[in-house]
Symmetry: C2
Subunit: 596 residues, 2 copies
């Protein structure tokens, strides 16, 4: 049995002691309700819901999976999933951060992120259903017409219907320019959508009566490539402009994929056969609308990685304390027991500290990005909004790429601590590893995040987000330059940040001369950037803990973990720097034929 | 569908061009039959058997798994597994390297290793059945009495019976000192074995009529801990000293484990209830006999990692050539196609080259270790035998640790190249990743390999194996010191080897003062050592390819892959060195309570 308790103490520390969100929200119009008391109450209730309702369904959902009935094209979700969704809706969770105009509670995104981490830690498969609704809501809010918001967005926010994102087709995943799904105009202003979409999470299920598919398709006269893509809303049951639900639309789930993990998530092949749909936004401008959904989803998938890391840590820590095996090398620590617990062994501690460092450091990185989202949305100061937008745009590929890749490392470590028992289904650790494996693939692979970071956010946008981030790090280092208690971190952080800036300039020059240099450096650059960003958040954590009213154990734990991070994780940047400096030749010079 | 073709060209290159095994075997008494022609013929036939018989059963075996019948305590293996074993026996494969005295063909271990890599690549789950027989055979050959070899070993070599290793109990895996299984003497000189063993691979199955369990247990008066462990042979059906098979023994499979992968391997809970067994070797000296099996098995599990890496590479390379997605950053490479194949993208090439570098470099490392086994067994020169024994003892944890950990990395990369499709069962990539996950756990976790390497092979044995290895590397660098074509590799290799020696001395000093320093450095030391060892084998590969009659594409591919390895993999040693130099404090100073 795999356990889970929401990490409330560390969430509070991150939100209040480090990021000081209460102060921020008090000055943001529309966010004033988010006082510390309110946030505390939300976190407490979210912990109860995720621990008591979702977590107990995680292993059973994996074992049971989703079932497809070919006769009715229907999908049965695992036992308990539907009820849990009803509770999620009844508890008001689904509209927590949605705009009050459409029935939401309008709380800051950062609070939604804290909830989402808990949901994903408790039950990643289940969490995918509401996540897809959020993505669809976001697209409709920003790009839909008024009647579409009224008719489609409100039921999504209310949780009476759910949404999907229908992008991928059998021959095109990353390369949306290749997509073939067609949209033909109908006399009444609607469209007829035809084509096959694959990997559609929550494409069909039994939670609610209607499902709204946000579908990318091409108009008859559309230009080739990504400039000819439009976005449509295509409901499972047709809905008129009057909001009345009519007959079944001509679309259906064709089959469910058999996957390595997230078996409780229905991953559907969706067939559209002249289905009635409505254009969202302008013709041929679907990619922009899609990116609204995608960016929301990318940050959210980063939180999925974080949630899995937290749960992996909790379980492997408990096992390391319980399981007795061998004696400490320096002599028995528990001579009255037949052997010492695993936690005495240095390499077990290395694996535990790796998880702790990524869970707590990653939490800050993720929440910091969501604070920027809130600032970008609500700040009355245009310069502050612009800075926050640049920061969140820059940090999104890092949050998505780093927190999912480290989730794979951390679920590996957690399983390894269990030894052979980690490989056995009952302990639940192998499920975490299987579930984590999707997170570096969907909503853009790590490779796509890396190119988004170096190719777009650094090269195309002149690194404006990085400049803001490095300025903040620089100011922090200057502010704490004479703080003896922080010197062991501030010095190496300042050195790393300086190297980051210099390496970025060097890469920029080389990539301008030869675009392959960007592609050859991007993956290493993502990790390199992410590890330095975490070094900043770990240093801030120590500073914040020291000046907080946290217990001395809590403060010491932050300092010890930061020391571990700087000594044993941060040095990974040297390997990544060496790889980047080696240039593109060692990847590109070998003719294809010589690969074998 | 996952594909597999035995990598005959690279196996031949490794055996003949780099390691020159024919010359070695011609001078080793008992190995003269292993001419190039004979080895070639064996490799060809092994390729046919593994590609045509085993590989087609890999995905179906995973989907079907093993079935346990609680009424009869019997296990049904996946469809086709039993027939494949019969063909393996009929083809003479099972006794390929076994001693001729007991019915084997007496071929060198290195040839058996080449066969084993192919078996594991084709079907890891199936490969576990014969592997366990080999381990049991090895223990009986070295520690059994004459009548035991006659009665038990010969049927194992003939493949009419199979064997197991029964070590682990619910409360003891690594820590065998805790084991509780008991052995009571019987009047006829046999013993009555009682206890429960878990994780017993091939503990029950339907391949053959009798299964011989090699069981660790305690005599009534045994000292506590590992000094009170004895080894017994406990057959499923009782066998007298006369070799006659009698009634069913009082032991049975209690259940099958539900595992993340290797689902075609029967992983059994075995209950012994006063079962008749025979002592193998001396009382209380079971650990030495167990290590005979274990060391054989550790090298073999290294080959499992290698096989999975090879298969992952083949499949992701084929996919990278077929799948069209996006254009090369430097402009379309296949303008007549709707998009370029994945292989044009630099980071896809990084992932392919990582796999190629570990597959081909790992193959040499593994085969080199087996050549040392053959030298240790057959050399007429005592000094050569001693050197070879020291080398294989030193290299065993590196082969096991590095080739399994890199298999996890490489099956990760291969799956990642497939994008979302990699997560779908049908493509077979997620099975490789799940199957690979066991290899860093069984036969000693990576942590145990690391402690065996640094604690035992370096500290306790004064690093004699490392000294031989570094002397060989040093001689190679001196010999090729003026070879301009090799300078780009020989220079960095010599530098790394020098640093390896120095760091080892430094760690030795620190660990002598404080044993925790050994435990805190061991994991990093294993990778650090392994990556430098591979740098040596990659340099030898380039040298051997250049002076061989291989095609220019083959030679160039070795050089390009070596360049990639030195530029983008070898720099990992800097991160590991930094971690080791940081000392044990950052792992051990944090009080247990502060972990959370």
């Amino acid at each position: 049995m795999s356990r889970y308790s929401a990490p409330l103490a560390d969430l509070r520390f991150a939100l209040f002691d480090v990021l000081d969100v209460e102060k921020t929200y008090q000055r943001l119009p529309g966010c004033e309700a988010a006082t510390r008391d309110l946030i505390d109450a939300v976190l407490e209730e979210a912990a109860k819901f995720t621990e008591q309702v979702l977590a107990p369904l995680n292993q059973s959902g994996d074992a049971e999976g989703c079932a497809f009935d070919a006769a009715t094209h229907s999908v049965r979700t695992p036992k308990g999933f539907k009820d849990a969704f009803a509770k999620y809706v009844d508890g008001g969770w689904i509209g927590l951060t949605a705009n009050e105009k459409f029935g939401g509670q309008g709380l800051p995104e950062t609070i939604g992120a804290a909830l989402k981490e808990m949901i994903d830690a408790a039950n990643l498969s289940w969490g995918n259903y509401p996540m897809l609704s959020h993505g669809a809501s976001s697209a409709l809010e920003h790009h839909g017409e008024d009647w579409q918001r009224e008719v489609f967005l409100k039921p999504l926010v209310a949780g009476t219907w759910t949404g999907t994102m229908c992008l991928t087709e059998p021959h095109c995943g990353t390369d949306l320019g290749l997509l073939k799904t067609k949209a033909e105009p109908a006399a009444d202003g609607s469209w007829r959508i035809s084509g096959t979409k694959i990997f559609i999470t929550a494409g069909e299920h039994d939670f609610v009566d209607n499902i709204l598919h946000l579908v990318l398709a091409r108009l008859p006269d559309a230009p080739a490539g990504v400039k000819g893509i439009s976005l449509f809303i295509v409901p499972k049951f047709k809905v008129g402009k009057d909001g009345k639900v009519r007959e079944r639309n001509t679309l259906a789930c064709g089959s469910l994929e058999h996957k390595m993990g997230i078996k409780g998530s229905a991953t559907c092949v969706m067939n559209f056969d002249g289905a009635e749909g409505w254009l969202v936004g302008q013709p041929n401008k679907g990619l922009a609308a899609m990116f609204t959904m995608m960016n929301t989803a990318r940050l959210a998938v980063g939180l999925q990685g974080l949630g899995l890391t937290e749960r992996a840590y909790q379980n492997s820590l408990a096992y390391a304390r319980e399981r007795l095996q061998m004696r400490a090398l320096s002599g028995a620590k528990f001579p009255d027991k037949p052997a010492d617990p695993l936690i005495v062994h240095p390499d077990v501690r290395r694996m535990l500290l790796t998880q702790k460092a990524f869970a707590e450091g990653g939490r800050l990185l993720g929440l910091y990005a969501y604070v920027q989202e809130d600032l970008a949305k609500h700040s009355p100061d245009a310069a502050e909004r612009e800075r926050a937008e640049a920061l969140v745009s820059f940090l999104t590929p890092i949050v998505k790429g780093l927190l999912t890749e480290t989730a794979i490392q951390c679920t590996y470590d957690a399983l390894q601590i269990f030894g052979g028992h980690g490989y056995i289904v009952e302990h639940g650790m192998e499920q975490l590893a299987r579930d984590a494996r999707i997170t570096t693939l969907y909503e853009g692979t790590t490779q796509i995040q890396a190119i988004d970071l170096l190719g777009r956010k650094i090269m195309q946008l002149q690194g404006v987000g990085l400049k803001h981030f490095l300025a903040e790090v620089g100011a922090f280092c200057t502010d704490h330059g004479k703080d003896a208690a922080l010197a062991e971190f501030v010095g190496p952080l300042a050195t790393a940040a300086k190297a980051w800036g210099e390496l970025t300039l060097e890469l920029g020059k080389r990539a301008t001369a030869n675009p392959d240099e960007m592609g050859a450096a991007a993956w290493d650059y993502l990790f390199y950037s992410g590890y330095i960003a975490l070094a900043y958040f770990w240093t801030r954590s120590v500073a914040a803990a020291d000046s907080s009213s946290q217990s001395s154990d809590f403060r010491d734990a932050k300092r010890h973990t930061a020391r571990f991070y700087f000594a044993r994780i941060l040095p990974r940047i040297h390997t990544h720097a060496a790889a980047m400096k080696s240039g593109a030749g060692n990847l590109l010079d070998m003719p294809d034929i010589q690969f074998g």
